[in-house]
């Protein structure tokens, strides 16, 4: 037994119970999958192991010894490595510099970098992790950046490697490569903890699997002993693929029509190349794709938050020369943004104040420019009840709400304006199963009420559950459309990796 975490408790400000008496045992040399819905507590548990968070109580035994980890420094000394969900790379430094960061004596001269480059090249050859040691991080693709993250761990020398959702940013081929790599590492005696949302991966690569739900341990089992269905039940606590009852979409009325849309990311690179599609009233169009293929820019562009170019764009029958706050307001536009805390909410504001974000300037909340407190409070009360947001007092700061309830506030706010066009991006990221189901129902309701919905998600299940049509996005282009029946999921998976995969397979 290489590692055992016992009765780990972590409660965040605002009574967010991240992990509740969770225990985890990992054997020497195994690949151990950590499975669980968003917000189940996987990242937190691992961050505790890595010393990023301090648990409120609990103990860790490592290599038979009880150890205490107060900071990543301690875990590094214990030869524990972690590849974080959100990469921990300094963009302005080179690959090699990132790799030796914090490892050298302060006064060591950087001339000795040459040796480092050598070792990185060797490691690269040994494990098939090729990156140019001299490249600046900001010049690398997401996949390459992840290789750097893994190299960081290997370079330091690691016995226990943690990877938090490494595949959520990879194309299927890259995923295959990675899984093979991990197998190789395990065979060399490395122990690996592997967090994922994807069952296939669990069965492809892991020896054992542990499932968390709502911050609690559901169970641990040998992968060989379990089945797809059982894991699924463990994960969500009941039969999966809740079949949302839904009528066929039958609208011909085009609400959004885009032709030749182009957008660049903050680095100025072309992220969305010539995208064209229509969204009809009473229809949900899903955009599937591995994150980082231009979805973010597409969404920001349509929301008028970044400059975009296009040949032609029609919203509700009006051709728009430029997307501006004004004409979005006029048309009736709702937006559930990807980054809830960064964009959708103002954390120090009260829940009530957050409910009028975007309408702060219009009747009845503002009368001759003066905020109408009573209306604002009543409005908030109304939505809190209607969307069952768990909050004691709408005057409370919204920071104190759990991620799920924060998301509910955003959804409630955006849907309540009952928009003609609803833009939804990663609606269930980081929120628990209950909230997720609720959000799904709300989005469907909106669609049945006649709205046109554009749903962007990296979660294929989600896309297929909700969409009437599925568009697949790859490297800034829409490379195909499929009907949302399960048989298609595999095909889509391939498309998400780009056409060339099909050719390879063909």
């Amino acid at each position: 037994m290489l590692l055992s975490m016992e009765k780990i408790n972590k409660i965040f400000p605002g009574n967010v119970v991240a992990t509740n008496n969770v225990s985890l045992e990992v054997r020497q040399g195994e690949i151990h999958c950590l499975l669980g819905e968003n917000g189940a507590g996987k990242t937190v548990l691992m961050n505790i192991l890595y010393g990023m968070y301090q648990p409120d109580s609990g103990q860790i035994y490592y290599k038979g010894q009880p150890i205490s980890i107060h900071s990543p420094k301690d875990s590094i000394e214990n030869r524990i490595g972690m590849v974080h969900q959100h990469f921990m790379l300094v963009e302005t430094l080179t690959v090699a510099e990132n790799i030796i960061l914090g490892q050298w004596k302060p006064w060591k001269n950087l001339k000795e970098m040459e040796k480092v480059h050598e070792r990185i090249k060797n490691l690269g050859e040994e494990y098939g992790l090729f990156v140019n040691p001299n490249a600046l991080i900001r010049e690398l693709s997401v996949g390459e950046q992840q290789r750097v993250e893994i190299l960081k761990a290997l370079y330091r020398g690691t016995d226990l490697l943690i990877l938090d959702e490494p595949t959520s940013v990879l194309t299927p081929q890259e995923t295959v490569q990675l899984l093979n790599l991990l197998r190789g590492l395990a065979d060399k005696g490395l122990t690996i903890i592997f967090i994922t949302h994807k069952f296939e991966e669990v069965f492809q690569v892991s020896d054992r699997v542990t499932v968390l739900r709502d911050g609690q341990l559901v169970g641990t089992t040998d992968t060989a002993q379990t089945t797809f269905g059982e894991l699924a039940k463990w994960m969500v606590g009941r039969e999966v693929f809740m079949d949302l009852d839904r009528s066929k979409s039958n609208s011909k009325e085009v609400v959004l029509s885009v032709r030749g849309l182009q957008a660049t990311d903050e680095r100025g690179l072309l992220a969305v190349k010539d995208v064209s599609f229509d969204v009809h009233a009473n229809e949900i169009v899903g955009i599937a794709g591995v994150s980082g293929n231009g979805q973010t820019e597409l969404a920001l562009g349509l929301a008028g938050l970044i400059e975009i170019k296009y040949d032609r764009l029609e919203l509700c029958g009006q051709e728009l020369k430029k997307i501006t706050a004004k004409n979005l307001d006029r048309i009736g536009f709702g937006h559930i943004p990807e980054d809830r805390q960064g964009m959708g909410l103002i954390l120090p504001f009260s829940v009530a104040e957050n409910f009028i974000l975007g309408e702060y300037n219009s009747e009845p909340y503002s009368h001759y420019g003066f905020l109408q407190n009573r209306q604002i409070i009543n409005h908030a009360q109304l939505l809190v009840n209607k969307f069952s947001v768990r909050v004691s007092n709408v005057k409370e700061e919204i920071t104190n709400l759990s991620g799920g309830n924060q998301q509910k506030v955003v959804v409630a706010r955006e849907l309540n304006r009952n928009p003609n066009f609803l833009l939804v991006n990663q609606p269930t990221r980081g929120i628990d199963i209950g909230a997720t189901e609720f959000v799904y129902q709300q989005i469907l309701k909106q669609r049945d009420a006649g709205s046109a919905v554009l749903l962007i998600s990296t979660d294929l299940e989600e896309v297929f559950k909700l969409s009437d049509r599925v568009l697949v996005m790859f490297e800034g282009q829409i490379i195909g459309e499929v009907p949302p029946d399960r048989e298609q999921i595999f095909k889509v998976g391939l498309m998400m990796a780009g056409k060339q995969v099909e050719e390879e397979l063909a």
Binding site: Y53, P72, E77, M88, Q103, P106
Partner: protein, 313 residues
């Protein structure tokens, strides 16, 4: 004959440029180090005043400029420590703390000077650092006088700059500093102690500022006068932004500012000149703004600059 005069004049301007730039180099390089680690210190004016006061006072009582300097460095460290305590540990807004430091510096230096030296005594002087002629080099035709006949603090300001360049860009410590200013969390995950790094860097800015101030009272001149720093602390902020948060750029910025100041003094003293001298006085500040605009703001400023680091719960 005329052109000889002309060359001498130019030489004079350049010599002046170096002297005028020195205090700015000290405070500027210190600030660069702090800002590379993500901490803005606009309290320089105050710290410079404390440095000027301490250096002069200790020098006066002990009769030893070296002791004076030692005291200056200590005061710089203490100021930096307090600044870091507020900005790094307490995580108060850095601008705010800086403003407080300026008020504190002006008030404290003035108050203590008055109470120590009263009014009757009037003003005192002490032997200041004399200029040291570097053998051979100082005899070089034109630049000899400019570069190699200055006092010890002038030389050390350049050394300070070189050290900063070396540490920031040629050592592992430099990597740590820059990563802390760019992406503290990433640095944290690599086992770097973000707080420690920031503390040390802020201490450096304290020392730099204190030395810059002391240069005015014990090297450039030999007396302390209330408010002797006369705004150089604020200029430093501009110069560092102008220098794009890099030591070399800051060095150049300081020299350019010194040059313009020297030029304006010369233009003023020209006989029969019609332009009001205020125009010349305004020159340096005006140029700073232009320089800032020329960078179009897309200056490569550390991403985490001014943001307190919250270690995960």
């Amino acid at each position: 004959m005329e052109d000889i005069q002309w060359i001498v004049g130019l030489q004079g301007i350049l010599v002046a440029t170096i002297r005028l730039a020195t205090p700015l180099i000290f405070s500027g390089i210190g600030l660069v180090i702090a800002e590379q680690a993500g901490v803005v210190n606009i309290g320089l004016e105050g710290i410079m005043l404390l440095g000027a006061f301490t250096g002069w006072t200790i020098g006066f009582y002990s009769g030893s400029l070296i002791l004076g300097l030692a005291a200056v460095i200590i005061v710089g460290l203490i100021s930096g420590l307090i600044f870091a305590l507020f900005t790094v540990t307490i995580r108060a807004n850095q601008i705010v703390v800086g403003v407080a430091f300026n008020m504190l510096g002006i008030g404290l230096s003035g108050f203590l000077y008055r109470t120590l030296f009263g009014r009757e005594i009037g003003l005192l002087k002490l032997e200041s650092f004399q200029s040291i002629e570097i053998p051979f080099l100082s005899n070089l035709p034109f630049i000899g006088k400019i570069l190699f006949q200055q006092n010890i603090l002038v030389y050390s300001s350049f050394v300070f700059c070189l050290l900063a360049i070396y540490v920031l860009y040629h050592t592992a410590a430099g990597l740590a500093i820059r990563s802390v200013g760019e992406h503290p969390r990433a640095a944290d995950t690599m086992g770097i102690n973000v707080f420690l790094v920031r503390y040390l860097c802020v201490l450096m800015s304290g020392v730099g500022a204190a030395l810059g101030g002391a240069f005015l009272s014990i090297a450039y001149t030999n007396i302390f006068v209330e408010n002797i720093v006369s705004g150089r602390g604020y200029i430093t902020l501009a110069i560092v932004a102008f220098g794009r948060w890099k030591p070399v750029g800051t060095l150049i910025g300081a020299l350019i500012f010194g040059l313009f100041y020297a030029i304006q003094l010369n233009l003023q003293s020209l006989r029969g000149i019609v332009i009001p001298y205020h125009v010349f006085q305004a020159l340096p500040y005006f140029m700073t703004i232009l320089a800032l605009l020329s960078m179009r703001g897309r200056a490569i400023r550390p991403k985490a600059l001014g943001k307190p680091y919250e270690p995960s719960a």
